[in-house]
């Protein structure tokens, strides 16, 4: 299973492809895509450069990032694990 993610153009925040081509800043709201759906979503995201910057697919199991980049993708989803930026805005600022 895959998720589609990108950074949002206007503020750079992490976004995911949700059902119906909506975007969400919340990982658990991301659409869980099989291989065919994933390629379609990727093509559609690429055709919307006014929203999706550098869209790509993330491997996931039950909606949770898996595979080699799982730590990076978890940090992208939940924000920096430490420091002056806590708590994370992506969820609060999601539109």
């Amino acid at each position: 299973m895959k998720l589609l993610t990108a950074n949002r153009l206007d503020d750079g925040r992490v976004i995911y492809w949700a059902e119906g081509g909506e975007t969400t800043g919340v990982l658990r709201e991301a659409a869980r895509l099989d291989a065919v759906m994933a390629e379609t979503a990727l093509a559609r995201a690429r055709s919307r450069p006014d929203v999706f910057v550098n869209p790509y697919l993330v491997e996931a199991i039950d909606g949770v990032p898996s595979g080699r980049d799982r730590i990076k993708e978890t940090i992208r989803a939940t924000g920096p694990t430490v420091g002056n930026s806590l708590p994370h805005p992506a969820s609060a600022g999601a539109r």
Partner: protein, 555 residues
């Protein structure tokens, strides 16, 4: 301090307007990311894991209170109330929106600051000794030369599309507090011939995947010919440097592959024609720039201070801060104070907007309106009267800025790592914080004395781990964060690269391993030896043994 002339002001304003237009076209979708990326990088804008990142230059690390307050204002208004100082005296904002960037750049321009040439393959922000103009071991204040280089290199057409980025640092005396030998070009003032300043020149230093210590290329380049000489170096690099492979494009690779003799011969050939051209700096121009950096109006004092002496006796905490964070000044009765941005368990280099305001007030009131950014990701009040040090300390203490650990084990240099950076293999901040907490006992830190510990989240080496006395590098082992430790690096006039001591460790093993290495040093040091002296005497092996002591062989 240098003030923009009309040319500088117009140039920065034009760049803001140009970028405003580019951002508008990007936001409307008229520019694609591929088209926009080189434009944003020319203005210091990166796209990181969670947001855009803006890198603002603090030229040669010198700011006044007005500028510091503006940096605080930007942190508060457009970011999350903080900024991050880097090893190259830049400040990074981690959360600006694309659409706010033109307003931020305009705010910066109003205090003579900008983000030009903080990324991309150009000559970057020139850095220097944080104690420039204050240190008692300085031959000459290096900052006028930094300013001359800044003016010469800003938007210089020949040097805007180099094979790779190009970093220059300048120091004013023999003790290197700016890591010049880790730079593409390092300049050391060695003396004077009449009115003319003489420079020793190093070339081909660099960190990253293939680290190199800069090699001496010249011993006595004249100040009036400095721009001609640097142009000769850059021209040789532009002609001969590789552009086909990004990992082989830095000047360090060129110098290494040609050999320093052959590279010197090529530079000398270029220099012969260039030195007679109009690149010669008129002495009057040097004097004009020097005047901006004239020493402030110091009072004539006898070098002792009753208020200071009483505070040292009365308050052991002040005494400790004074021992560790206060540096000698060339002017009797004055000192330089290091403001540690390495509070217990804090993020190295981070400072909040309210703390910036406090620092700005202190600079204005007690340090001739000057504050500096240091290689070590700390700040410095360069010119404080001994009489005023107790008041400065109390204000810093109240703001959480009086951690008395400058140059000690918890004064860790660390890059943002995987918490922010899209290139990272592993996090660096939590490892730095774990070390900070583990070594929190200040008596222990003082017993260990000065030791430089550096962490990078990947081989790009933004945390300068190669030249840390102890270096920590984040590596990726099958999707897990691991850390490789080096011992024996050094960023100063005895610059050296650290040696890898063995296999990489999991995150929670790093701080205890470093403490064992420091304990080993306490056991085997001889009188008066600093950590790095002991490493130089006995080699890295005893420390490697201590680092792996008791660790499961399977780790």
């Amino acid at each position: 301090m240098y003030r923009y002339d009309e040319f500088d002001a117009a140039l920065v304003r034009e760049r803001v307007e140009e970028f405003r237009d580019q951002v508008a076209r990007r936001a409307s979708g008229a520019l694609t990311e591929d088209q926009f990326k080189p434009l944003r990088l020319m203005n210091g804008v990166y796209l990181q894991l969670h947001a855009y990142m803006l890198r603002v230059a603090v030229p040669y690390g010198t700011m006044d209170s007005r500028q510091m307050r503006r940096l605080a204002h930007i942190a508060r208004t457009y970011d999350k109330g903080y900024g991050h100082f880097t090893t190259r005296t830049n400040i990074q904002y981690n959360w600006p929106a694309l659409t706010d960037l033109p307003a931020i750049l305009e705010d910066l321009a109003s205090v003579e600051m900008h983000a030009i040439q903080t990324s991309g393959n150009c000559i970057r922000n020139v850095t220097t000794d944080v104690f420039a103009g204050a240190a008692d071991d300085e031959i000459e204040d290096p900052r006028p030369w930094c300013e001359i280089l800044r003016q010469w290199s800003t938007i210089h057409p020949e040097f805007s599309f180099l094979p790779r980025k190009f970093k220059v640092a300048v120091i004013g005396g023999p003790n290197d507090r700016a890591a010049i030998r880790t730079h593409d070009v390092g300049l050391e003032i060695v003396g004077r011939d009449g009115n003319d300043t003489l420079f020793r020149v190093f070339v081909g230093g660099g960190q990253g995947r293939l680290p190199h210590i800069g090699k001496e290329i010249a011993t006595d380049v004249r100040g009036t010919e400095l721009l001609a000489y640097l142009t000769a170096i850059l021209r040789a690099y532009n002609l001969l440097g590789r552009r086909d492979n990004i990992h082989k494009a830095r000047i360090k690779i060129l110098v290494e592959s040609l050999g320093i003799e052959a590279f010197r011969a090529e530079v000398d050939r270029q220099f012969e024609t260039l030195r007679d051209e109009d690149l010669r700096l008129p002495q009057a121009e040097v004097e004009r720039i020097r005047a901006y950096f004239a020493p402030p109006a110091f009072e004539t004092l006898d070098g002792s201070s009753g208020a200071f002496d009483r505070a040292v006796l009365a308050d052991p905490d002040f005494a400790r801060w004074n021992r560790n964070n206060v540096r000698r000044h060339r002017q009797p009765g004055y000192a330089s104070a290091v403001i540690s941005l390495k509070g217990l368990g804090e993020v190295p280099g981070d400072i909040t907007d309210t703390q910036m305001e406090v620092v700005a007030d202190l600079a204005e009131r007690y340090s001739f309106d000057e504050v500096r950014a240091a290689y070590e990701q700390n700040l410095v009040l360069p010119h404080v009267k001994l009489d005023d040090l107790p008041s400065v300390w109390r204000a810093l203490l109240a703001a959480g800025l009086a951690t008395p650990n400058a140059d000690l084990a918890t004064d860790v240099i660390a890059c943002p790592g995987l918490d922010y950076c899209s290139l990272a293999n592993a996090r660096s901040i939590p490892v730095a914080q774990a070390l900070s907490k583990r070594l929190a006992d200040l008596d222990y830190q003082e017993r260990v004395g000065p030791v430089r510990i550096n962490m990078s989240g990947c081989i790009n080496a933004c945390g300068h781990h190669h030249v840390g006395h102890i270096g920590v590098l984040g590596v990726d082992r099958k999707g897990e964060e691991y850390y490789q430790i080096t011992v024996g690096g050094s960023p100063d006039e005895q610059a050296a690269l650290g040696q890898i001591v063995g296999r990489s460790l999991p995150s929670e093993a790093v701080a205890p391993a470093i403490q064992r290495a420091l304990d080993r040093y306490l056991e085997i040091r001889e009188d008066g030896e600093r950590f790095i002296d002991t490493v130089r005497r006995v080699g890295h092996e005893p420390f490697g043994e201590a680092i792996y002591e008791g660790l499961d062989a399977a780790v």
